[in-house]
Amino acid sequence: MSDPGFFQLNVRALLGRSYPRVVGGMRELSWIFFETVLPLLSIAAYVFIYKAFLRPNPSPDQLNMVNALIGYVVIGGTMTAFWLNVLWSMASQLYWEKEVGNLQLYMMAPMSRMALLGGMAVGGMFMTSTRAITTLVVGVFIFSIVITITNPLLILAVFFVTLIALYGMGMMFASLYLLYGREAWNLSALMEEPIFLLSGFYFPVKALGQAVAIGASIIPATLGLDALRQLMFSGGGPGSQFYFFSPELELAVLCVLAAVFLVLAKLSLAYLEKLAKREGRLTTRHQ
C-alpha cells in the first residue's frame, strides 16, 4: 500500500478525528435528550423575564418588541450550545487528551496537528448543530416567535462564518489551555457566564454600551448574534437604538476574525510542539 500524499493524509486525519464526534453524538440517546431539551429550560426562564416586565395590556408595538426579545433569547440560547462545545470539546480537548494519554500519539503521528484540530471542529460543529437546530426549532414553536427573513443567503453566510471563527478561536485556545495545565478546567468554567454577558447572548449587545460591545466583538459570537438578530427580526425588532453595526460590516469583521484565529491557532500549535520537544513535560499527566 503506497503512502498517502500530504493532502490525502491530512484529509484522512480530519475525517478520522471528526468521526467519533459524528457517530458518538448519536450513540447515547439520553445525552441527545439532555442537550436538546434541557437548554430550553433556561431559555424559557429568560423568556419569562421579558414577559414579566412587559406584561400588562401590551400595545401591538410592544407585542412586536416582546416577540423580538424572546427571539433574541432563543437564538442566543441556541448559540450557547456552540460556545459550550468550543470551550469543553475544543479548547479543553488537548488537555483531556494529555490526561488520557493520547497527546503523545498525536505528536508522533505524521499528520498536521491542524488537521487533528480541524477534525475536532468539524465533528463538534456537526454534533452541536443537530442539537442546536432542534433547540431552535422547538423554541420558535413553543414561544410562537414570528421571524421575518429578508436575506436568507446573508443569514447562512453569517452563521457559517461565525461558526468558523468560533471554532478557530477554540483551536487557538486548545494549545494555550495545554500550557495552563490544571487551570484549563477553571478557565473553561470561567468563560461561560461572563462570555454570555459580554457577547449579549440574551439581550442586544449594544445595551452594554458601544465601547464594551466593540471590545466584546473579539468574541465571534458577539457580532454573529447581532447580525443574525438584525436579519431575522428586521420587521419588528427593538429598534435601531439597540442594533450594533450593519450585518454586512459584521460579516466582514467575522471573516477577518476567522482568518486571524486560524492563523493564531497554527502559530500556537507550532509553539506548543516546540515546547513539547524541548521540555518533554507536556505529555505528563496530572500537572
Binding site: 445525552w31 419569562f48 418588541m65 468554567a189 457566564e193 454577558l197 447572548f201 442586544p204 427593538p238
Partner: protein
Amino acid sequence: MFKQAAWLGWEMESNWTEPGLFLIYSIIKPVAGAFILVLMSYVALFLGTGNQDLGKSAQFAYLFVGNAFFIYVANVLFGCFQVIQADREWYQTIRYVYMSPINFYTYIVGRAASKVLIATIATAVTLAFGVFALHINLTMSLWDIPLFFAVMMIGLLCIIAIGLCLAGLSFLTAKHTHGLAEGIPGLFYLFCGVIFPLSVLPGWGQSVGKALPITYWLEALRRLVLPGSQIAQVSTGLEQADLAVILALLVVSTAFFFLLSILLFRLTEYLARKAGLVDMMTNY
C-alpha cells in the same frame, strides 16, 4: 470526618488551583450571571416604559434577590450529585473512599460544604453589588435576623437533601452529571419563581412551582430582605399566604426531602452494591 471531606471537596472542586484564584473564578461566574439579568431587565424596562432606573423597579428587585440566593441551589446541588461520578469515573478513587471508615452520606455532605462556602461569598458579593451599584433597597429588622439565618439553614438543608437524592440515583446511572447539572437547577430556575413571579407561568406551571420547596425558601427570603411595600407591588402568586404558612410549608417539605434522601440513598447504595455498580466505569 466531615472536616476532611470538606477540605478534600475544596481541593477537588478547585482542581488544586490556588485558593485565591479559585475564589475569584467562583465569584465571577454568578456575578456575571446576575449582570445578564441586569442587562435584560434594563432593556425590557427601557423599551417597555422608557424608565432606566432599575433600582426603583419592584420587579427587578424581586428577580435580583431571587437570582442571588439561587446561586446556592445551583452550586450546592451540583456539589452533592457530582461526587459519585467524579470519584468513580474521573478520579477513580471511589473504591478507596468507600472502603474507608467514613460514612459515605457524610462524605458527600462534606464534599458539598466547599460549594456552600463559595455560594455564600458569591451571593454576598452579588447582593452587595445590587445594593451599592443598582440601589436595590434591602432592609431587615433586628428581630428578623435570627429568622433569616434559620430560613437559610432550613433551605440549605433542603437543597443538600435534594442533592443527596440525586447523588443516590447517580450510583445507578452512567455519566449523566452534566445533564443533571443543567436539568435539575434548570427546572427549579423555571418553576420556583426565581427570576420572575410564579403568576407569569401558566396554571400547570404554577402548580409545579407550588410543589417545590425552593419556591417557599425564596419567597420567605424575599419577604425578609425586601421592603414590604416593594413585595406588595409584585404579583408573586403566593401573596395570599402569610410568612408563617410559607415557613411551615418550607419546614414540612424540607423534612420530607431529608427523610427521602436517607431512604433513597440507602436503597440505591444497596442496589449498586448488589449489582456491582459502586466502582462502575462506563468509559465514555
